[in-house]
Protein backbone atom coordinates (compact mmCIF):
# COMPACT_ATOMS: atom_id res chain seq x y z
CA UNK A 1 0.00 0.00 0.00
CA UNK A 2 1.04 3.55 -0.68
CA UNK A 3 2.02 5.40 2.40
CA UNK A 4 2.18 9.17 2.65
CA UNK A 5 3.67 10.32 5.93
CA UNK A 6 3.40 13.81 7.33
CA UNK A 7 5.98 14.53 9.97
CA UNK A 8 3.76 16.30 12.50
CA UNK A 9 0.10 15.69 13.29
CA UNK A 10 -0.26 18.75 15.52
CA UNK A 11 1.80 21.94 15.68
CA UNK A 12 1.41 25.17 17.62
CA UNK A 13 3.46 28.13 16.43
CA UNK A 14 3.62 31.84 17.12
CA UNK A 15 2.94 34.61 14.63
CA UNK A 16 6.05 35.38 12.59
CA UNK A 17 7.71 32.01 13.09
CA UNK A 18 9.02 30.02 10.13
CA UNK A 19 7.20 26.71 9.84
CA UNK A 20 8.23 23.58 7.96
CA UNK A 21 5.73 20.83 7.15
CA UNK A 22 7.36 17.69 5.81
CA UNK A 23 5.79 15.00 3.65
CA UNK A 24 7.31 11.73 2.47
CA UNK A 25 5.79 9.10 0.16
CA UNK A 26 7.19 5.62 -0.29
CA UNK A 27 5.79 4.50 -3.66
CA UNK A 28 7.92 6.41 -6.14
CA UNK A 29 5.06 8.71 -7.19
CA UNK A 30 5.98 11.51 -9.56
CA UNK A 31 3.35 13.99 -8.38
CA UNK A 32 3.00 15.57 -4.98
CA UNK A 33 0.55 18.17 -3.65
CA UNK A 34 -0.11 20.37 -0.65
CA UNK A 35 -3.70 21.30 0.24
CA UNK A 36 -5.21 23.16 3.13
CA UNK A 37 -8.59 22.13 4.48
CA UNK A 38 -10.91 24.58 6.21
CA UNK A 39 -14.52 24.03 7.33
CA UNK A 40 -16.98 24.96 4.61
CA UNK A 41 -14.24 25.56 2.06
CA UNK A 42 -13.20 22.01 1.25
CA UNK A 43 -9.66 21.41 0.04
CA UNK A 44 -7.73 24.18 -1.64
CA UNK A 45 -4.52 23.54 -3.55
CA UNK A 46 -1.51 25.49 -2.32
CA UNK A 47 1.36 24.11 -4.42
CA UNK A 48 2.11 21.02 -6.43
CA UNK A 49 5.08 19.34 -8.06
CA UNK A 50 5.28 17.00 -11.05
CA UNK A 51 8.97 16.26 -10.71
CA UNK A 52 12.03 16.80 -8.55
CA UNK A 53 13.06 20.46 -8.34
CA UNK A 54 9.83 21.40 -10.08
CA UNK A 55 6.98 23.34 -8.45
CA UNK A 56 3.80 25.01 -9.58
CA UNK A 57 1.50 27.40 -7.77
CA UNK A 58 -1.93 26.19 -6.92
CA UNK A 59 -4.97 28.28 -6.14
CA UNK A 60 -3.77 29.87 -2.87
CA UNK A 61 0.04 30.06 -2.88
CA UNK A 62 0.37 33.41 -1.08
CA UNK A 63 2.35 33.14 2.13
CA UNK A 64 3.71 29.69 1.28
CA UNK A 65 6.67 28.16 -0.53
CA UNK A 66 7.70 24.58 -1.22
CA UNK A 67 10.78 22.47 -1.75
CA UNK A 68 11.23 19.20 -3.60
CA UNK A 69 14.87 18.19 -3.52
CA UNK A 70 14.15 14.44 -3.66
CA UNK A 71 11.37 12.58 -5.42
CA UNK A 72 9.89 11.17 -2.23
CA UNK A 73 9.90 14.36 -0.17
CA UNK A 74 7.79 17.52 -0.57
CA UNK A 75 8.05 20.25 2.04
CA UNK A 76 5.69 23.15 2.66
CA UNK A 77 7.20 26.28 4.18
CA UNK A 78 5.45 29.15 5.89
CA UNK A 79 8.06 31.90 5.85
CA UNK A 80 6.32 33.99 8.49
CA UNK A 81 3.30 32.30 10.00
CA UNK A 82 0.12 34.30 10.49
CA UNK A 83 -3.08 33.51 12.37
CA UNK A 84 -5.03 33.12 9.11
CA UNK A 85 -2.79 30.17 8.27
CA UNK A 86 -4.26 28.18 11.14
CA UNK A 87 -5.63 25.18 9.31
CA UNK A 88 -5.38 21.48 8.50
CA UNK A 89 -2.67 20.82 5.92
CA UNK A 90 -2.90 17.72 3.76
CA UNK A 91 -0.14 16.28 1.61
CA UNK A 92 -0.97 13.97 -1.28
CA UNK A 93 0.81 12.08 -4.04
CA UNK A 94 -0.24 10.44 -7.29
CA UNK A 95 1.10 8.42 -10.18
CA UNK A 96 1.87 9.77 -13.60
CA UNK A 97 -1.26 9.38 -15.77
CA UNK A 98 -1.50 7.98 -19.29
CA UNK A 99 -2.66 11.25 -20.82
CA UNK A 100 -0.79 13.60 -18.58
CA UNK A 101 0.85 13.79 -15.21
CA UNK A 102 -2.22 13.22 -13.08
CA UNK A 103 -5.10 10.74 -13.31
CA UNK A 104 -6.68 12.43 -10.32
CA UNK A 105 -6.35 9.50 -7.91
CA UNK A 106 -4.64 10.99 -4.90
CA UNK A 107 -3.12 9.28 -1.88
CA UNK A 108 -3.27 11.43 1.24
CA UNK A 109 -1.33 11.66 4.46
CA UNK A 110 -3.19 11.95 7.75
CA UNK A 111 -2.81 15.70 7.89
CA UNK A 112 -0.98 18.27 9.98
CA UNK A 113 -3.14 20.52 12.12
CA UNK A 114 -1.37 23.85 12.52
CA UNK A 115 -2.41 26.47 15.05
CA UNK A 116 -0.78 29.90 14.83
CA UNK A 117 -1.15 32.04 17.95
Amino acid sequence: DVKVTQSSRYLVKRTGEKVFLECVQDMDHENMFWYRQDPGLGLRLIYFSYDVKMKEKGDIPEGYSVSREKKERFSLILESASTNQTSMYLCASSLQGPSGPNTGELFFGEGSRLTVL
Partner: protein, 114 residues
Protein backbone atom coordinates in the same frame (compact mmCIF):
# COMPACT_ATOMS: atom_id res chain seq x y z
CA UNK B 1 -11.11 25.06 -15.53
CA UNK B 2 -13.70 23.10 -13.64
CA UNK B 3 -15.78 23.45 -10.50
CA UNK B 4 -17.63 21.12 -8.13
CA UNK B 5 -20.76 21.85 -6.12
CA UNK B 6 -21.86 19.85 -3.11
CA UNK B 7 -25.01 21.63 -1.99
CA UNK B 8 -25.51 19.68 1.23
CA UNK B 9 -22.98 20.49 3.92
CA UNK B 10 -24.53 18.02 6.37
CA UNK B 11 -26.79 15.02 5.87
CA UNK B 12 -28.23 13.26 8.94
CA UNK B 13 -29.73 9.83 8.29
CA UNK B 14 -30.91 6.97 10.46
CA UNK B 15 -29.00 3.73 10.47
CA UNK B 16 -30.14 1.27 7.77
CA UNK B 17 -31.86 4.03 5.81
CA UNK B 18 -30.79 4.93 2.26
CA UNK B 19 -28.74 8.03 1.53
CA UNK B 20 -27.82 10.15 -1.46
CA UNK B 21 -25.02 12.73 -1.40
CA UNK B 22 -25.26 15.13 -4.30
CA UNK B 23 -22.44 16.33 -6.51
CA UNK B 24 -22.64 18.52 -9.60
CA UNK B 25 -19.69 19.67 -11.66
CA UNK B 26 -18.94 22.03 -14.49
CA UNK B 27 -16.16 21.67 -17.02
CA UNK B 28 -15.40 22.64 -20.60
CA UNK B 29 -13.57 19.34 -21.22
CA UNK B 30 -14.15 15.66 -20.53
CA UNK B 31 -13.60 14.77 -16.90
CA UNK B 32 -12.68 12.06 -14.47
CA UNK B 33 -14.80 12.02 -11.30
CA UNK B 34 -14.06 10.84 -7.77
CA UNK B 35 -15.55 10.47 -4.33
CA UNK B 36 -13.18 10.61 -1.38
CA UNK B 37 -14.06 9.84 2.25
CA UNK B 38 -12.48 11.34 5.36
CA UNK B 39 -13.05 9.61 8.68
CA UNK B 40 -12.53 11.67 11.86
CA UNK B 41 -8.92 12.71 12.43
CA UNK B 42 -7.71 11.06 9.26
CA UNK B 43 -6.67 12.07 5.76
CA UNK B 44 -8.82 11.48 2.71
CA UNK B 45 -9.02 8.12 0.98
CA UNK B 46 -10.47 7.23 -2.39
CA UNK B 47 -13.96 5.71 -2.22
CA UNK B 48 -14.70 5.28 -5.94
CA UNK B 49 -13.88 6.78 -9.31
CA UNK B 50 -15.25 7.17 -12.83
CA UNK B 51 -12.67 7.32 -15.60
CA UNK B 52 -14.54 5.81 -18.56
CA UNK B 53 -16.84 2.91 -19.50
CA UNK B 54 -19.84 2.03 -17.37
CA UNK B 55 -21.41 5.11 -15.86
CA UNK B 56 -22.28 3.24 -12.65
CA UNK B 57 -19.32 2.63 -10.36
CA UNK B 58 -19.26 0.85 -7.03
CA UNK B 59 -17.10 0.74 -3.93
CA UNK B 60 -16.23 -2.30 -1.86
CA UNK B 61 -18.35 -1.11 1.09
CA UNK B 62 -21.67 -0.76 -0.73
CA UNK B 63 -21.56 2.81 -2.07
CA UNK B 64 -22.26 3.53 -5.71
CA UNK B 65 -22.21 6.60 -7.91
CA UNK B 66 -23.57 7.25 -11.37
CA UNK B 67 -22.01 9.58 -13.90
CA UNK B 68 -24.73 11.57 -15.65
CA UNK B 69 -23.18 13.65 -18.40
CA UNK B 70 -26.37 15.44 -19.41
CA UNK B 71 -27.03 16.59 -15.85
CA UNK B 72 -23.30 17.00 -15.05
CA UNK B 73 -23.80 15.04 -11.86
CA UNK B 74 -22.04 12.27 -9.96
CA UNK B 75 -24.29 11.58 -6.96
CA UNK B 76 -23.20 9.07 -4.31
CA UNK B 77 -25.73 6.57 -2.98
CA UNK B 78 -25.97 3.77 -0.48
CA UNK B 79 -29.16 1.73 0.03
CA UNK B 80 -28.56 1.09 3.75
CA UNK B 81 -26.07 3.05 5.84
CA UNK B 82 -24.15 1.87 8.87
CA UNK B 83 -22.82 3.79 11.85
CA UNK B 84 -19.32 3.28 10.48
CA UNK B 85 -20.24 5.34 7.39
CA UNK B 86 -20.23 8.49 9.51
CA UNK B 87 -17.59 10.63 7.81
CA UNK B 88 -17.11 13.59 5.50
CA UNK B 89 -17.42 12.89 1.78
CA UNK B 90 -15.74 14.94 -0.92
CA UNK B 91 -16.57 14.92 -4.60
CA UNK B 92 -13.66 15.77 -6.93
CA UNK B 93 -13.12 16.33 -10.64
CA UNK B 94 -10.17 16.55 -12.97
CA UNK B 95 -10.04 17.29 -16.68
CA UNK B 96 -9.07 14.19 -18.63
CA UNK B 97 -6.65 15.92 -20.97
CA UNK B 98 -3.25 16.08 -19.26
CA UNK B 99 -1.71 18.59 -16.84
CA UNK B 100 -4.95 19.26 -15.06
CA UNK B 101 -5.52 19.95 -11.36
CA UNK B 102 -7.95 18.11 -9.13
CA UNK B 103 -10.79 20.33 -7.93
CA UNK B 104 -12.66 19.35 -4.76
CA UNK B 105 -16.13 20.19 -3.57
CA UNK B 106 -16.68 21.67 -0.12
CA UNK B 107 -17.64 18.32 1.39
CA UNK B 108 -20.74 16.72 2.89
CA UNK B 109 -20.77 15.45 6.45
CA UNK B 110 -22.77 12.27 6.71
CA UNK B 111 -24.04 11.66 10.23
CA UNK B 112 -25.58 8.25 10.77
CA UNK B 113 -27.99 8.23 13.71
CA UNK B 114 -28.45 4.98 15.66
Amino acid sequence: AQSVTQLDSQVPVFEEAPVELRCNYSSSVSVYLFWYVQYPNQGLQLLLKYLSGSTLVESINGFEAEFNKSQTSFHLRKPSVHISDTAEYFCAVIGSGGYQKVTFGTGTKLQVIP
